[in-house]
């Protein structure tokens, strides 16, 4: 059974402007797949809905979340102190397809495979756990990460990646431009791409991968209600092959995603 557990905040600190790293400890925390998320339930009950946050890293009993302060909920989250109790769900959603069931068009054998992890802004955190798992599976991992001007989680990524390339919109660090321009300019070629970030970035990368006939997995974002499939608030349009041909279906980002193959997503529908 999935459950809501009471964790203890082990640290909650700013690691860049408006970007916070929170570590939550609980003996009930198990494992997570890269790309999964958790719901954080705020103590302030006037803010009813949980805040879904992607998992940056998880080890036995300790989970790391890196989030951006964008509104009242994440502002309240940033005020949590060490030793505070916090209610958190066990991991939700489906992560990146990197283990388990082999799909018709996709294999999960990463031994010796070149992979590129592409993160944009607050889409970078889930790349840390993904890099760790892919490295464990014997992949040759490269990260390409983009930020407006200030980078974060670079050291963590370097621990699991053979190389980390940084792009900034304003050229303050690394490449001046976006991640796709960086990939094209530096010819950062891989057999498979994994991405999380703004929709415009995911769409551009996904379309480029399709042109190159390369596999691409993207983690989508949508405003969620419950985060577990009950409210059907967070839908996205996905192309599904049926007996009648390809049809566009609405899938729940929280339940069927947040990760989909780039070619499945009906970006403009």
């Amino acid at each position: 059974m999935k459950k809501i557990i009471c964790g203890k905040v082990a640290c909650n600190e700013a690691i860049a402007r408006d970007i916070y790293k929170m570590q939550i400890q609980s003996p009930e925390l198990g494992q997570a797949k890269p790309g999964q998320f958790v719901n954080l339930y705020l103590a302030d009950k006037s803010m009813l809905l949980p805040r879904p946050i992607s998992i940056c890293d998880i080890e036995e009993g300790c989970m790391t979340l890196v989030y951006k302060v964008v509104g009242k909920g994440t502002k309240a989250l940033s005020a949590y102190k060490e030793q505070d109790d916090i209610r958190v769900s066990t991991p939700l959603g489906n992560g990146y397809f990197i283990e388990g069931e082999e799909l018709e068009h996709h294999t999960c054998d990463y031994r010796g495979k070149k992979v590129a992890l592409v993160g944009g802004g607050i889409g970078v955190p889930p790349m840390v756990l993904l890099a760790k798992r892919l490295q464990e599976q014997g992949a040759e991992v490269t990260a390409v990460v983009g930020f407006p001007e200030e980078a974060f989680l670079i050291q963590e990524l370097k621990g699991f990646c053979q190389s980390v390339h940084i792009a900034t919109d304003r050229g303050t660090i690394g490449f001046h431009g976006n991640v796709l321009e960086l990939i094209q300019e530096k010819e950062i070629l891989a057999q498979e791409y994994f991405a999380c970030g703004p929709k415009v970035m995911l769409r551009a990368l996904s379309q480029w991968c399709q042109q190159q006939q390369l596999s691409c997995q993207v983690s989508l974002e949508e405003r969620m209600g419950c985060g577990y499939g009950a409210c059907v608030g967070c839908t996205c349009k996905i192309k599904v092959v049926t007996e009648a041909g390809v049809e566009i279906q609405q899938k729940g980002v929280c339940k069927h995603g947040p990760v989909f193959f780039g070619e499945e997503v009906a970006w403009d529908a």
């Binding site: 009813l48 405003r223 577990y228 409210c231 059907v232 608030g233």
Partner: protein, 303 residues
């Protein structure tokens, strides 16, 4: 000491307790990952139409102080898929199923009711109150004549008891309640969401793609309690009360106002185990108050 007896008879169905889920906030497989569905008195499933509906564009969800907005627009897979999937899955539980039915026209409601009448569902809840559907939905629920017409139409084709779900977006809720009772409704559920709106003042745009949506959560509870109280005094048929129930004491408040059973909606999005938590809290409240039955709660009310 005599054990608590939470069982209730509701419009002809036996329920082991008065706690149900509210349509639109319950999905058997997803909600059932957090608690044992078999513990509930009944479940009310998501709105289903005779054919699949795509619903509204995203963003569909917004949060307000003590409440939330949704403009899902009754996205559903259609009655056939619902019967083959959700209902088939729910068969393993001993909990009665109340299927919520949506439509754009009287014919569409009737078609879905006919299909669902042939299944194991215990009861049908006719949604004439969704604020997110332009045709049908709330249009039927705000006019006593049209509410009566839909009730008459579905009663004529249904083999199951009919619960009519009313909208609070009316001047006099009792008029609508009396109209559906007169046409043979077996029960009434109220309230559905209030029509609401939120503007993001940073982006200077509505939060919902649909601009307006259904407002639910604890912020609407006083409106719901008032309407249950008014309707209880206007009709004889049973009432399912809902609207912002977050705790066992909230459930007791609805029962005192006149509800026979209660539904938990938004609370289950805020806390996935809310329906069973509220059931346990209601039991604790009854023990604390020395109540043995649900009728004891109602009879204790001195309003």
């Amino acid at each position: 000491m005599r054990k608590l007896d939470l069982s209730v008879q509701f419009a002809g169905i036996e329920m082991k307790n008065p706690v149900t889920t509210a349509s639109g906030t319950f999905s058997a497989r997803d909600s059932g990952q957090f608690y044992d569905i078999g513990r509930l008195g009944a479940v009310v499933t998501k709105g289903v139409a005779s054919e699949p509906w795509a619903g509204n564009p995203t963003p569909r969800i917004g949060e307000t102080y003590g409440g939330m907005l949704n403009a899902v627009g009754l996205q559903n897979p259609g009655a056939d898929a619902f019967i083959a999937d959700e209902l088939a899955y729910l068969k393993q539980f001993s909990t009665p199923v109340i299927a919520n039915v949506a439509g754009r026209t009287a014919e569409e409601y009737c078609l879905a009711v006919e299909k669902l009448s042939e299944t194991d569902v215990a009861m049908l809840e006719i949604n004439i109150s969704c604020p997110n559907v332009k045709e049908g939905g709330i249009g039927f629920g705000t006019d006593p004549r049209m509410a009566a017409e839909i009730t008459r139409a579905v009663k004529s084709v249904s083999k199951k008891p009919i619960l009519v779900k009313l909208t609070p977006n009316v001047t006099d809720i009792t008029e609508i309640a009396k109209a559906v009772e007169a046409e043979g409704a077996d029960g009434i559920s109220l309230i559905n969401t209030l029509l609401g709106m939120k503007i993001d003042v940073q982006r200077k745009k509505p939060v919902l793609a649909n601009i307006m949506g259904g407002f639910s959560g604890p912020a609407i509870k006083p409106v719901a309690v008032r309407m249950v109280y008014q309707v209880r005094r206007a009709v004889q048929i049973p009432i399912m009360g809902l609207g912002g129930i977050m705790t066992g004491e909230d459930a007791a408040e609805f029962i005192m106002a006149g509800a026979d059973v209660i539904s938990v909606g938004t609370a289950a999005l805020v806390n996935p185990t809310a329906p069973v938590d509220i059931l346990e809290e209601l039991e604790a409240y009854m023990e604390e108050q020395g109540f043995k039955t649900i009728a004891d709660i109602r009879q204790a009310f001195q309003g």
